[in-house]
Amino acid sequence: MMTVRNRFIFSLIFSLPLLVNMIGMPFGFMLPGGDWTQFVLTSAIMAVAAWPFIQSAWASFRHHHANMDTLVAIGTVTAYLYSVYALLTNRAVFFESAAFVITFILLGQYLEARMKDTASNAVGKLMDLQAKDAEVVRNGQTVRVPLAEVKVGDVIRVRPGQKIAVDGEIIEGSSTIDESMVTGESMPVSKKVGDKVIGATMNSNGTFLFRAGKVGDDTLLAQIVEMVKKAQTSHAPIQKTVDKIADIFVPVVLIAAIATFTVWYVFLNASLVNSLLFAVSVVIIACPCALGIATPTALMVGTGRSAKLGILIKNGEVLEAANTVKTIVFDKTGTITVGKPKVTDIIGDEQSVLQTAASLEAASEHPLAAAILAEAKAAQVTAAPVTNFQAVEGQGVTATVNGQAAFIGNTKMVHGTLSPDLQSQMNALQKEAKTVVVVGVKGAALGLIAIQDTPKASSAPAIVALKKRGYHTVMLTGDNQRVAEAIASQVGIDDVIADVLPGDKAAVVAKLQKEAPVAFVGDGINDAPALTTADVGIAMGSGTDIAIESGGIVLIKNDLMDVVTALTLARKTFNRIRLNLFWAFIYNTLGIPIAAGLFAGLGLILSPELAGLGMALSSLSAVASSLLLNTTKLQTKQKIAA
């Protein structure tokens, strides 16, 4: 069996003499052998290059189906058989019509197949990212084993410049890792003991050991590949109408062609040749190829490109829904904010306040304690040993630090009152929705520490970008109104809905949906109901299984700017689908009447050759237009000045 490429080359070679003949005709030039040579050349094309069309058309016909091959076969066979009849009865032949149509259509199919490969290679590229093998430590020895033999719990050594084989956690050493291929994050990330590493990412400078946590189909990369595959084969709802049309299209075109012939020949007294040419043109131009590939190719390119940016769009339905979204609801903690409280202000002598606080909190498991200890570590303040540690219910903790009775907690821990200066500073900090603790010794305050869950660096610019695009932004949180509003004003969000219990988030989303379609952005762990209720659920960061399950769009990075990119990309992809469909429809609705000779009175007619060329071009333009999605500008500033 010949490939499409070889069939095209064969057809081209045999068509060239026919072309010379056609161009030479007005100048009195003819191929040696005249019409008989044309007959031989075209017969060869029909038998070799066009035969698969005929074969397929016949196979479909027997199953009561019709496809584009039916149209190509009927069109060219009609032209060919008539010409044979004309040859035998000494009339004008039009063998070249059949030959050229076949050549053009094969050219179109060949180019289309090549472009489609380009469009669908995103999955292949993702798969190629996988490491081929890993250096596993077994019985104290490092052995190189193929990727498939790596098991959960294996300890794997990664040296500089090596690929990390599977997902896991570092147990020894540290390094900087380039995760751009999986997360889209362009800056290398530094990792140390206890940090998670992602399979298929690239280690840069350090050597480390990590314990394999997820292998095979459970790795983040495997899940991404699976999701992209599903997205690329899914159908956008807009496609359903197209499919209905495609189902009846070919038989309807055949009927139209017969009607064309009959009207010209019987009612308008056109010659048999001209009537036949009109009918053949109708059959050839009408191929619904462009309609068929308009959606899938755009979907492939759009979802493939977004996957490279660390944005996973689940399917065509999500893509279409993302296009209608008007309101974007954000979860606060972990989505707009970092999700970890941080020390923002220290009032008083920083060194002594921090040291006393850190010493007192060293044994505590309170989330605020973690913030203080992190700050102390960053400031290189070491905690002093404590004795007589005591927690005071509803107030704070006390202990003996450096021989003095020290405390940390609320104002009740202070004997008497705070100095007016400290009191006013405390009030100011509280107004900013910060949690303020007092640190002191012997019942007198040393200073204050203010702690707050701060917004991510990407939050404010992302909200600005979304508002600029006309979205209404809402923040949803279980925190009290004051804290929520302080954060909202920092990042510039439109509305705040505070004091929402975790279980009620979905209900709030449903209420907002009554006004306009809603996208919900959350971290995917405790927001699953809200994510599934919203028209579009956008799960942020972490790349956890739950996020991948419940989000329609999954952002692998923890960067709010990706919400903007995701929505922009979804909109661009959907618009491209619409544009492709629009042109495909226009092409057919204009092409068929012209081919049928409706405008023949104005001198506007379409020969079968031109119809064949037009058909090839329409499919090509649909694929090319989809491929353009790869280069379209997304207009989001990826880098935020630090």
Partner: protein, 123 residues
């Protein structure tokens, strides 16, 4: 006289096309062959899918083998939108696809352009 014949032939032809393509033509569903370790079914790809409906038993690993006889590029891919499968079918070579039968239901499959359809019923 010739014109009248042409007209009548045309009308008859249109009628035939309408009946042949739009009329109701029943196709039978075929159940997979069940063995101890799994089940398998064959689908011949030639101007469509034969059989067009394949019935699989839930929970038993299934192999669906496509054999494409048709040279048309229209049919050179088979797509299962719900399962994320988009496979190339080499002509005249059997291509086997593993089907996940854990969830019962009806799953459509189609060619790359969604013009030819088939159905998988898992129950």
């Amino acid at each position: 006289m010739i014109k009248l014949t042409v007209l009548l032939t045309a009308v008859a032809l249109i009628g035939f096309i309408g009946w042949w393509f739009f009329g109701h033509h029943e196709t039978a569903a075929v159940a997979a062959k069940i063995e101890k370790t799994g089940q398998d079914a064959q689908v011949l790809v030639s101007g469509g899918y034969a059989p067009e409906t394949v019935v699989l038993k839930q929970g038993l690993p299934a192999k669906l083998t496509f054999l494409r006889k048709d040279p048309s590029t229209c049919l050179d891919h088979v797509v299962f939108p719900d399962m994320g499968i988009n496979d190339f079918l080499p002509q005249d070579q059997a291509h086997t696809i593993d089907i996940d039968t854990t969830k019962p239901g009806e799953y459509e499959f189609a060619c790359g352009m969604n013009m030819f359809h088939g159905k998988l019923i898992i129950k």
